[in-house]
Each structure stands twice: as C-alpha cells, then as structure tokens.
Amino acid sequence: MAALLAAETLQGPKVDWFALSPLLILLGGAMVLLVGGALTRAWPKRGYALFTAAVALAGGVFGVLLWHRIDDKGPMSLVGNALTLDKVAVWLTITICVGVFLAALVSDDYLRREGLDGPELYVLYLLAALGGIVMSSANDLIVLFLGLEILSIALYVMAASHRKRIESQEAGLKYFVLGGFSSAFFLYGVALVYGGSGSTNFDKIVTAFDTTVQLDRQNDALVLAGVALLLVGLAFKVAAVPFHFWSPDVYEGSPTPVTAFMASVGKTAAFGAMLRVLLLALPHWRDDYRPALWVIAVLTLVGGSVMAVVQTNVKRMLAFSSISHAGFILVGVEAAAHEGGATLASPGVSSVLLYLLIYSVLVMGTFGVVAAVGRTGDAATGLAGFRGLGKNQPVLALGMTVLLLAQAGVPLTSGFIAKFGVITAAVDVHSYAIAIIAMVSAVIAAFLYLRIMVSMWVIEPEAGDDARERVHVPALLGVAISLSVAFTLVIGFLPGRLIDITP
C-alpha cells in the first residue's frame, strides 16, 4: 500500500507563492479573524475593522509589488494555468483591495450602531474579495465559476446580515434565488463551451477554436448557445438590463456598507470576469457577442438612468445609477471587443479598468455618506433624510456633492475622467452611436444626483425632520469618505499619471 502510494505520488503543479500573495493574505486575514474572533473575547472597539483594513492594505501593497514584478518579468500563469498574473489582474486586485479597505472603514461604526458588531462580516468581506480576485485573474472557466460563487455566496449572506431589518433578509433571499438561478445559466454555458472546445482552460479553448471555428460555423450553434449563457451569467453579475432586476431591491435592502461593497468589489470582479471570459476565452465569437453587448449596454445605460428618475430612496437611486454606470463600463467592454485576438491590451480594456477603480472609490464614498445619513436602523435613506444636511453637516454635504457630481461625470472629478476614457475608447473604434447614447443617458442620470443635491442644500427640512437624530460622522467613516473625496478630486485634476499606468 505504502509502495503504491509512493509510486503514485501526485505531481501537483508548481506554485509561485509570491504571485498568490494577495490571495493568501486575504485568506490568512480571514482565517485569523474567524478563528481569533471566535476564540478570543470581543476585540477592542474598531479592532475588527482596522484589522480588515490592514489586511486589505497589505493585499494591495503586495499587489503593487507584483505589479513591479510584472514590469520586470512580464505576465505569468499560475497554479497549473488556472490563474493568470498580468497587469489587468493586478490592477483589479488592487482595486478590490482598495474597495475592501474602504468598506471596512465604512462598516465599523455602522455595525456597532446597528448592533451587528462582530468579525463575521469582515471575514466575509475578505473572502468575497478573494473570490473577486480569483474571478478577475482566472484563466479557467471553472476557477472563474468558483470565484464567482465565493463572491456571490458571501454577498448573499452579507445582504441578509442585518438581522433586525426584514428588508435585509428579503434582499438576501432575492439575491440568493436569482443569483443561484443565473449561476446555473453561467454554468450551463461553461458546460456547452466545454463541449465545443474540450476544455475549460482559456488557453486551450482558444487553441481548440483556432483550429475548428473557421471550418463550419453551423456546428458551433451549441457553443454559441454556451456563449449566450455565459453572457447571461456575467450580465447578471454586473446588473445589466434586463438582468438587473435584483439589484435595486438588493441594494436597498442590504446594510449600506454591504451595498457599497457590492457596488464596488462586486462590480469590479464581475467586470474583470467579463473581460477575461469574453476577450481571452471567446475572442473567436467577438462578432457574435459584440452586437449583443451593444444592445445590453444601451439598455443598461438608458434603463438605469431612466428608472432612477422616479425613485425617492437614495440607496435605490444609487442602485439604478450603478446600473447606469455598468452601462458605461459595458461601452468600454464593447469597444474592447472590437480588438482582434485574445488580448487584453486595448484602449477599451484600459478604459474599463480605469472606470472600475474610479467608480469603486467613488461609490464607497457615496454609500459611506448614505450610511451616515441613514442613521440608526439604516432607514432614513429616503430623500427626506438628506434634507437640511447642507445646513447641519456642511462638510459632509459638500463631500457628498463632490461625489455625486463625480458620478454625474462633471469635469474636474474622477467620474469625468472615467467617462471620458470610456467614450474615447468607444470613439476610437468608431462606436459613435453608443458613445452618444451613453452621454445622453448620463444626462438623464444626472437628474437623480441633482435631486439628492437639492434635498441636501435647497429643500428646507420639514417639521418632522428636525426631530430626527442628528447625522453623526464617526472617525473611520470620515476617513473613508475623505479618502474617497480626495481621490475623486485628485484624479479629477491630475489624472495623467493614473491613465499612464493603466494597462
């Protein structure tokens, strides 16, 4: 028996541990939190949040180190070709880490305020981020699927984590059911693509199709169906119309920091996955899925903006705004889909990456303010809750104004740079129509930001509003919002360096 075992020692793939460092750090951090949180007494105030932030920061720092390594040695594939470490992956890793970092800061006081304090949510943040990083650096459909599930399941739990609010649980349930539903579609897509190519590995898929795809198009119907289903899964994750229905409800119902996390990390990872699947695994079907992407992008842009118009709950508004932003990013993806070959080096991809980073930070800050304004119970997130903010908390209101203007794409904010990049990418490949539709829908979307601003600055609080608890900005949240605002403005004024390094 022993001999048999000895003879059959498995030759596992080589593991470049350093290259996996961000993943390992997040995982390790999660374990420490989980085990430590369970075994020790409650940590000091802010302990969990600061620890999580530190872990995320460390992950990010290692991401930067990896970045330099790629500068020196070029991209590489990891763990038996399951992951790819290229600049896109590292960029997204850093973006996700930034998201987690800010999310941890935003969550701290919120959780204590809502009586939900504990390490669990932070553990989920870290693990979800891990899933996100896997998604955005996967080189294999199965790995990508697992990353997706890690992220999604964590998000389901997070959405439902506000025990006192039935809305939170409703959100969790909806997200879960629909998430599972769409995951099944995605998985079916994986299966069909696997059937056509004989592998789930991106490189092998491409190689397989290189030899067969040009021969007989009709016989690829099954693979095309697979592509369609993959697209469904991805579109669901990024909340593209008509697969977006979950997102307003879930955004509204989830605890605000979790909403922020979904909008930043969730979206980043989903788009990372989308880039990889569409551009690296399925470049042969560019001409097939590009029109579909076009339509989805337009629907998403217009739908998100239009539906936001009639909302009165700020979280819900921002959910629709997030849909609209997804539309913008899809414009970038569509532009990238014009490039030939299995490559991520195109203006479209760059614009998407830039957009994701900027949007992640932006949306964190925005929801941070919403978390503060929501007050105890996380219920005052209607427009009415923002009334008089300009008077009572002018600095907070000003910060929110900057963030909202950035979301609207007003120049000298990072939001404008992001939009400009996407538009440039689209125009670069002569997708003028979609560029114009995008900009016009941005105008429609601007209406909702204006409404929030009007509530903050112009509309006088009503009699009942005065009795409301005063908005209070705790330290860590303040730090998170300040960082977000600062980033928004700095990138708005001096984007050159950042654009330069975008892969």
Partner: protein, 518 residues
Amino acid sequence: MIEFPILTLLVLVPAVGAAAVALISKRQPDLVKIVAMISSVLTGAMALWVLFAFKSHEADFQFVSQHVWIKPWGISWHLGVDGISLFLVALTGVLFPLVIIGIDPHHDHKRYLSWMLLLEAGVMGSFISLDLFLFFVFFEIVLVPMYFLIGGWGYDDRIYAATKFFLFTMVGSAFMLVGIVATAVLAKAGPGGSVTFDLIKIAENATFAASTGRWLFFAFAIAFAVKVPLFPLHSWLPDAHTQAPTGGSVILAGVLLKMGTYGLLRFGVYLFPEAAVWARPLFLTLAVIGILWGAVAATMQTDLKRLVAYSSVAHLGFIVLGTFAFTTVALTGSVMQNVNHGLSTGALFLMVGMIYERRHTREISKLRGLQKAAPVFAAAFMVIMLSSIGVPGLNGFVGEFMILIGSFGTARWWVAVAATGVIFAALYLLWAYQRVFHGEPDDDNRAFPELKWKEATLLLPFIAIIVFTGVFPKPMLTRIEPSVNKLIAHIEEHGDWRSPQPAVGVPSVEVVTEDGEG
C-alpha cells in the same frame, strides 16, 4: 524669459478665492465678503490689464501659456486670448465684481459668493482655453455653480428651472464631448500621429472628410446652440433667467450665453470651416427665426424678467446671424454684440432685480407708473432699454448694425427678415416700459423708492460703457478685426467660401473730402 502667467491667474484667482471663501468660518461673514471682493476685483483688474496690454492690430493669440496636463491623452493647459475672446474676458472680469459687490443674495452669503467665484473661474476658463478638453472642462464645470445659484437663491420655481438648465445644457454637452473625442481621435491620423486636443494644432493641421467634418461640427454645434440658445433649443432660458437670483441672471445673460456664441465661432467655425459653410443656411434660418420668435414671445410675456429673457433669444439670434455671415464686418459685429448684449441685458436684469427687491413682484400688470414715482430709476432703465432696442449712439446699435450690414452681402434675404427684428424690439420693450413706468401709479407703486446711490454706482459702469461703445467703438474694433480677418481667411482656405469682395464705389466726380481727424 518666462512670461507672467496672467491668463492662468485669471482662472486661478477666482478659483482660489472660491476655495478660500468656502473654507472661512461662517462666523466671519465680513471676512467672507472681503475675500470674495478682493479676488473678484483682482481678477477684474487683471482682465482689464489684459485688455489694455493687448496689442491691437494683431491677429494671433496673445499671453499664451501652455503646459502639459494629461500627457497620455495629449491634453494641455493651453490658454490664450485673441481679439475674439479678449472682450469677453474683459466683460467677465468686469461683470463679476459688480455683481459680487453690488447684489445682495440675502442669505447664505458664504456659499453664494463661493459659487459665484467658482463660476467666474469657469467662465473665464472657457473663454481662454485653447485645448478642446480644457474648454470642455470649463464649459461643463460652469453648470455646477450656476445650478446651485439658481437652485439655492432663486425664486419660487427655482428647482425646476435649475434642473432644466443643467440637464438641457448637459444634453448639448453630451454631443460635444463625443465630438471632441472624435475630433481628437480622427485628427490623430494626420501628421504628427499622437493624440492631441490642441485647438490650434487640430484646426490648422487636421483635415476631415467632408461628411465626417459635418457630423463633428454638428456634435459641437448642438452644445453651443443650446447654450446660445438658438431656436428651438431656447426653452431652458426663460425659466432659468426668470428663476435665477438677480446676480445669476446678470451673469447668465452677461457672459454665460456668450459661451455658446463664442464656442460656435471658436470651436465650430474655426475647427470645421467646411462644415460651417455647408451648414450656413440652417444656422442663418434658425437665427432669423429666433430673432422673430424671441421678439414675439417676449411681447406676450406677463413677467418682466421673462420678457427680458426672451429678448435675449432675439438678440442672440442676431449674433448667430452675424457669425454665419462670414464677412469681416458681420463677424466683428457679432463678437462685439456679445459684449453689448452682455452689458445691456445684464443691466436690464439688474434693474428688474431692483424692481423685484422693491415690489416683490415681476408681474407687469402689478407695476404701474414707476416713472412718476422714481424718475431717475426710470431714466436709467430707459437708457439701458434703448441700448437693447438698438438706438444709434448706444452700443447695441453698433453691433446690430454691423451684423446686418455685414451679412447683407452674403445673406440678403435673411437680413431683410432679421432687420424687422428691430421693429419688434421696439414693440416689446416700449410696451413693457409703458405698462411698468408710464401711467398714474397706484398705491402700491407710488411708494416705489428712487434709485439709491449704491445702485446708481452699480449701474454707472454699465451705462458708461454702453454710451462710450456706442459713440466710439473703434478701440474695440481694431482689436477684434484682425482675429476675425484671420478666421475668415481660415474659412476661405478650408471651406468652399469666398467672402464677397468689398464693393468699391465708382465715383464719377472727384469727391472733396477733407479729413479732419486729428
């Protein structure tokens, strides 16, 4: 030698002022006002310095400063003034301190002043940017302070008006942004290779296929047409003007609309001469319709401020008409009329604001016989109104006349119709004047207070410039004309356009003229 970065400071001083005002504690209202005053006056002084230091008879951009801003996108901080923008810069520089010092917003001074200064920075920037991206940044950023000014300090329907203003203008900008990007991207194919957003480089070097150029031109033109506003895209204007606080209206009419006409010239015609020539009939027609439409609509208004707002539509129609006539005289007239309209309509808004301060209504039917109650006030209003009507000897006439006479050679029928606009201008303004100032005042209006010293001081610069420019426009013309000539030469070079040769009279008899000029 490094030149003194005067233009950069023109943008930075108000911007820094805005930041400073925003940062000063609310408990020091006087300090807030002083800082705002200093920064706006300083900006005004610098603008005037630019005006006087500007070399006349010079067509090129002056005081140019250029620094790389966003290198990967080929964007630079590129500023400069020429004859076309010079007076708009000066107007901006002059108007803002007057508004900031002269008009009391009644509440939240700090925020009001901060927005005002930011607005000034934005407006200033749009007039001196020579980079498409930079221009867009300023063009767009202006919306924000204006939005807050209307929304925060306006009248009853202010939120609706502010939102409409913001969104409507932004729709136009949406097209322009795509146009800007497309221009830069398509211009890249030309010599040079790298992307640039530099206005001059693109205008002078890039060549677009005719159809492409036309699309691009329209992308730009929509944004400007909204801003101008050109019929039928004007409907945001009456609301915005009417609901804005007095200071906002003055600035809106005085300089903000000029961003449209200026943009049309600088970023429409200059960049796409071929397309501009091609689209000429359309713009001429819309301009002329606008002149009449605005005038007729103004006639029927019951709100004095709204009436003045509609008069802007008509006046700006003239400016667009002159722009698309493509002759030296008309174009110079247009550029000049920008300033004239800014002054006279700005001043009209100022006075309507004063009426509102006193009577808390702008309804024409509620006002009556004010001339008897306040003759000096009425006289000041009259002078400004006559300028707006275009009575010779005042500034409004000079520009309007130059536009019409200059356009006649190239757009005869349009001019024939447009010239009837002068009839309507008299009709609506005089009718309004009659209803508001003439007649026997009733009890409410009898106590209408006379013009105060402070107000008179505020109006004096307006009236002085109105009269001076009407009588002696030459200093303006000699500064504007070279740049305009250069632009027309540019149009002739790139577009299918020959500006008409000036007709030379054929005197049959030697004319005895004795030039008495000293």
